[in-house]
């Protein structure tokens, strides 16, 4: 079963607006990553945040991590139509195997 859960499941915004997606997970983690997927194929890595980090930036992306609440958020600022995609969080558990667990994703639609 999936460990991560994203919300919202779907998000529709206008170009130029900010998009915020949230992710919750269940067990202690080593790191958390965000991926983007276009057209149901081929995920692209966006950003990785370690369990001892609280915030990380990369271009228009800002990721936060709250390990006490077992949650993370991804903020995309000044969104563009090209940001339209599905976004997934993925976690590597601290113990118990080597699996990477993905959530069900947030489908973002940016209207031009």
């Amino acid at each position: 079963s999936q460990q991560g859960e994203e919300d919202p499941q779907a998000l529709s915004i206008q170009e130029g607006e900010n998009a915020t997606m949230n992710c919750s997970y269940k067990t202690s983690i080593n790191n958390l990553q965000w991926y983007r997927q276009n057209s149901g194929r081929g995920l692209v890595h966006l950003i990785l945040i370690r369990s001892n980090e609280r915030e990380k930036h990369s271009g228009r992306l800002r990721v936060t991590l709250d390990t006490s609440k077992k949650s993370s958020s991804l903020l995309i600022t000044a969104s563009r139509a090209a940001d339209t995609a599905s976004y997934f969080c993925a976690t590597d558990a601290l113990t118990g195997g080597f699996k990477t667990i993905f959530g069900a994703g947030t489908r973002l639609f940016v209207k031009a």
């Binding site: 999936q2 790191n31 990553q33 149901g40 890595h45 370690r50 994703g105």
Partner: protein, 117 residues
Amino acid sequence: GAGVSQTPSNKVTEKGKYVELRCDPISGHTALYWYRQSLGQGPEFLIYFQGTGAADDSGLPNDRFFAVRPEGSVSTLKIQRTERGDSAVYLCASSLIGGKGSYNEQFFGPGTRLTVL
């Protein structure tokens, strides 16, 4: 090649048949992962290889699924006696170093869309 490649890109088979899906990871990447993804869902972990060995196969749904990586590079996912419920996109990913304490991103291939009729 520059990225992870997977072949075939699409595979249509009949219920009960055997299929093999191939993954060519990025050269030099020791870690390799297989996932499957159903429509509207996130990737579901199947198996993780560190080098030639399967370090975690806990995601394989049953004994009809098997994967190998004999030389620590190319991997093949094998599905016996396919069922309609096996229909999904099968994704492969590789990373430079895997395992606990590593912070390497995974590079994904484009996937193989398997359809079992």
